[in-house]
Amino acid sequence: MSACLDIRRLSAVLPNGQRVLRSVSLAVQAGEVRALVGESGAGKTMIGKAVLGVLPKSVRVVEGEMLIEGEDLGRLDAKARRNLIGARTALIPQDPLTALNPSRRIGAQMTDRLVRILGWSGERADKRIRQLLDEVQIRDPERVLKSYPHELSGGMRQRVLIAAAFAAEPRLIVADEPTTALDVTVQKQILRLIAQLQRDHGTAILFVTHDLGVVAKISQKVSVLYAGKMVEEAETAALFAAPQHPYTRALIAATPRYTDPYASLKPVDESVLAGLAAEIAAADKEWRPGHG
């Protein structure tokens, strides 16, 4: 059986030739939650955007393949690719503030996609949306559907976006730091909701985050990324129990703990970073586009 998402040796460069993704390979099985962790600028979000076909114009993919349920995105023409991505994937964005159109009512925004893109009837879309709002525990769907985004709290907006992401039954959801912009108390609820819906719908999730605490709670497998390079990949439990790569070890050590929040706050060690830089430099030297 082919993986839900299969990324093979994906490399991307900026206009100045600098690599932002370095031969990244990553497979997400159907129904699996895969966490993608790394510091800011490591390229986590870039991978998500590449999968969804919305890379910034300045970033160019120079090698590698991306397959969604066995279909190679690179072999499809632009229209077929858009259709495939639109039908089988969805995004839970980072900032619920800018992810909803401020001048359209929530209800219209949510049903619009089902009706216009997937060709559902208005009635069916409406029913589906209400069902999803119920699943994300929105108690007064009537009010929410009639609201404009600015009339809802951040947590409510993120619930709406989660409902919208699951509405069309995608096979894969890219969750791009979906809890980062929220209050800590709301974060927990949102995380629980995503996990709940993921289990109920059997959707695979590529969960982009920099928060190892979140990783431990939600994912089955983890990929650690540094400067666009895959550093380590493991089962979540195994990764926390016995991290193999020194960078992963340092990253875990740098996570604050409730028991002793200040003592355990250690920045990643210089020598670890130097080692990584050497690894990357060596890989870059050998690297030629197309032969990665």
């Binding site: 991505i85 639109g86 800018t98 159109n101």
Partner: protein
């Protein structure tokens, strides 16, 4: 919360004052033949330079006095309003349609479309607007349609620049990206996601542009390049008033006040409308 918002909306004096004046002036212009106390073109040298009603020597029926040819000033202002409003609506709307469409395309699509449109705007803005207008009217010939065309041709850049900038910032928003992921076409996204969010600015600019169109028309009238010299326009009245400022100040002052109030009302009305229609500011 709803009650508070309604109260806030109802209490916007800016909207009411500006809208009130515009409505008054518009109604006066529409019903000019019914309202105007005298024939705006009737000359009577026996009645030349009558002062406004509160001064000695005023004649009943000539509320704001008469000009050097004995024509009733109030009637001329009311009839002048007709041309002012026609020019304001027609010219501003045309400029708005051209400028907003190009601005939306440049801002949303970027790349070559943006480069070409932005260069045209840069070149356009290098022309001094009033001289450009005078030149255009001189080439197109005087008349109402030439004035409207000239203003639209000159002032579309105002819309283009502002809407381009707004469309650009909207295009970077996550909801536009979400729409792309969902599989919407580019034009669909531009019209459905971006356009509604730049609309409040379009409305505000449109109203502002109407005021500017009134000014430009007055300037063109002032230099005798607008409509035929027979029809009273605010600009032509000001031009005449300038000549007799020492004998009859009112011929200059009343049309100026009318012009200023109208232009100010247009801009304030636009701002108030924007505040009211913008879902985020609201």
């Amino acid at each position: 919360m709803d009650e508070a918002r309604i109260a806030r909306r109802g209490l916007s004096p800016r909207l009411w004052l500006a809208g009130g004046w515009l409505l008054l002036a518009l109604l006066a212009a529409i019903f000019a033949p019914l309202i105007a106390p005298q024939d705006p073109l009737a000359q009577d040298l026996m009645l030349e330079r009558l002062p406004p009603f509160w001064l000695d020597g005023a004649e009943p029926g000539y509320w704001l006095g008469t000009d050097s040819l004995g024509r009733d000033l109030l009637s001329r202002l009311i009839f002048g309003g007709r041309i002012a409003f026609i020019v304001a609506f027609a010219a501003a709307t045309s400029a708005c349609l051209i400028g907003s469409a190009l601005g939306l395309i440049a801002g949303y699509f970027g790349g070559w479309a943006d480069r070409i449109i932005s260069r045209i705007v840069d070149v356009w803005m290098a022309f001094p607007p009033v001289l450009f207008a005078i030149l255009l009217v001189a080439v197109l010939g005087t008349g109402l349609s030439s004035v409207i065309l000239a203003i639209a041709i000159i002032d579309w850049t105002r819309f283009c620049r502002v809407i381009r900038a707004e469309a650009m910032s909207q295009a970077r928003m996550d909801y536009v990206e979400s729409a792309r992921i969902a599989g919407y076409g580019r034009i669909g996204i531009m019209l459905r996601e971006v356009l509604p969010n730049v609309l409040p600015s379009v409305v505000a600019l449109l109203s502002l542009e109407m005021g500017i169109a009134v000014i430009v028309e007055a300037i063109l009238s002032f230099v005798n390049l607008s409509i035929s010299t027979d029809d009273p326009t605010w600009g032509s009245i000001i031009a005449e008033g300038r000549l007799s400022i020492h004998q009859a100040w009112w011929v200059l002052v009343f049309p100026l006040i009318t012009l200023i109030l109208t232009v100010l009302s247009f801009s304030q009305f636009g701002e108030a409308l924007k505040a009211r229609f913008d879902p985020v500011l609201r």
